[in-house]
Amino acid sequence: MAAEVVETEAVDGPCRLRRFSCELGLLSRPDGSAAFLQGDTSVLAGLYGPAEAKISKELPDRAALDVLLRPKVGLPGVLERSREQLLQQTCEAVVLGVLHPRTAISLVLQVLSDAGSLLSCCLNAACMALLDAGLPLSALFCGVTCALQPDGAILLDPTARQEQEARAILTFAIASTDRKVLMVTTKGSCSVQEMQQCLAVAQRAADTIFQFYRDSVRRRYSKS
């Protein structure tokens, strides 16, 4: 399988994204696979589906989507389960499951390295894997993490060090249609105005990420 590596420059200005890179179709067994790198954080996603579902798990009117998130070290714990629930519900919102009833779609994510903004990297890898598998989607989504520093400044795509120093970390999953918010999760406390400011910044950054998706897919299919 040809692997495409596409890189992007960081957005200039006070809110910078780290260098992104993405490889599509790097695994031979899954129907869709993607490796997404944000700075030093990298996640590998593999998607199987739509495939036959176990009778206990099949849904009569739509596809049953389940997500497995494997941490880099150790066994999956409660934190991974919580993140799996967030990823699963975000993916279910965009995948047109009604076109494939009584099937199962399995998304497996493996954390390769964690240097901050892990959940948004997982979201981006998941979306790229869905694209690579060719599943019908109503919208794309991207993950953006914002860190609120003690002095009130907003940092995008924080590193692990910046996450530790921040007083609040907000992760958003933003849909490509109208930049609507699919998923929000916060760590630490902030005021309502600060959250709205972070959301506005994240929605602007989402434009860069969607353009990156477009470029990756274009590069992948432009070679004959």
Binding site: V78, E84, E92, A93, A139, L182, T185, S189, L199
Partner: protein, 262 residues
């Protein structure tokens, strides 16, 4: 979907002798922004868990959640010698609803446990340094067990409320370390309450078709909803946690809704 939901609502009400068609009301007769009747029983007399150090029973309509807090002593971790531990655990036994089977904790229980742990951490309602007795030697561990007895929707709100009530009920005995022997001495006669710095309150909403937000959904409303969102605020109005686990897109202009001023 929202239109169909509204349609069934008005039909249900009109079965009465006086067909007063109430617009924008739910099957149980509530307004869109109305909570169910909330009851809380705290402590050994009312809640009747005599073995726990603090306990509370919360009923939000039919949803019944009981929280028991047990305090034990342990050595603090090597990298945080001045911090104690708070270990929340949410259990959804097969008693509370037919969809939960007995066995290892399912995904919903684990996600709820993580949510409670995040709320404790984000709101700083208990500062772990307050749980330390002797730096590097002895600290309190608070095991908070939240068990759902009857699941009728809105588990997270009830759990946060039960946890807060139980923690306020906890009385910790005074522990001193004997300097000569190095052993800890527990004085059961002298008890002090826990220092609770913040009082977070969770409010959950069910979203229908991206347009309708209803507060405190029942299990039936949660199943029909296209999404849910839970917002936790403290007494200063700061957001401790916004938990929107996907589905149902939100625009930025959407109002946050009435945060629980209860």
């Amino acid at each position: 979907m929202a239109a169909a939901f509204k349609c069934t609502t008005t039909n249900y009400v009109s079965v009465d002798e006086k067909p007063t068609k109430k617009e924008n009301c739910r099957p149980d007769g509530r307004e869109l922004g109305e909570f169910r009747t909330t009851t809380v029983n705290i402590g050994k007399c009312l809640c009747s868990i005599t073995t726990a150090d603090g306990s509370a029973l919360v009923k939000l309509g039919n949803t019944t959640v009981i929280c028991g807090v047990k305090a034990e002593l342990a050595a603090p971790a090597a990298d945080s010698a001045n911090k104690g531990y708070i270990v929340p655990n949410v259990e959804l036994p097969s008693l509370c609803a037919e969809r939960f089977r007995s066995g290892p904790p399912g995904e919903e229980a684990q996600a709820a446990s993580q949510f409670i742990a995040d709320v404790i951490e984000n709101s700083q309602m208990i500062v772990k340094e307050d749980l330390c007795i002797a730096n590097g030697k002895l600290a309190w561990v608070l095991y908070c067990d939240i068990i759902c007895l009857d699941y009728d929707g809105n588990l997270l709100d009830a759990s946060v409320f039960a946890l807060l009530a139980a923690l306020k009920n906890v009385q910790l005995p005074l522990v001193t370390i004997n300097e000569e022997t190095g052993l800890s001495e527990v004085n059961l006669k002298q008890k002090n309450p826990l220092i609770i710095r913040k009082h977070p309150v969770a409010t959950s909403f069910a979203i229908f078709d991206d347009t309708l937000l209803i507060v405190d959904p029942t299990a039936e409303e949660e199943d029909l909803a296209t999404g849910t969102v839970t917002i936790v605020t403290d007494e200063e109005g700061r957001l401790c946690s916004v938990h929107k686990p996907g589905t149902s897109k939100f625009t930025t202009k959407k109002p946050m809704g009435d945060d629980g001023t209860r």
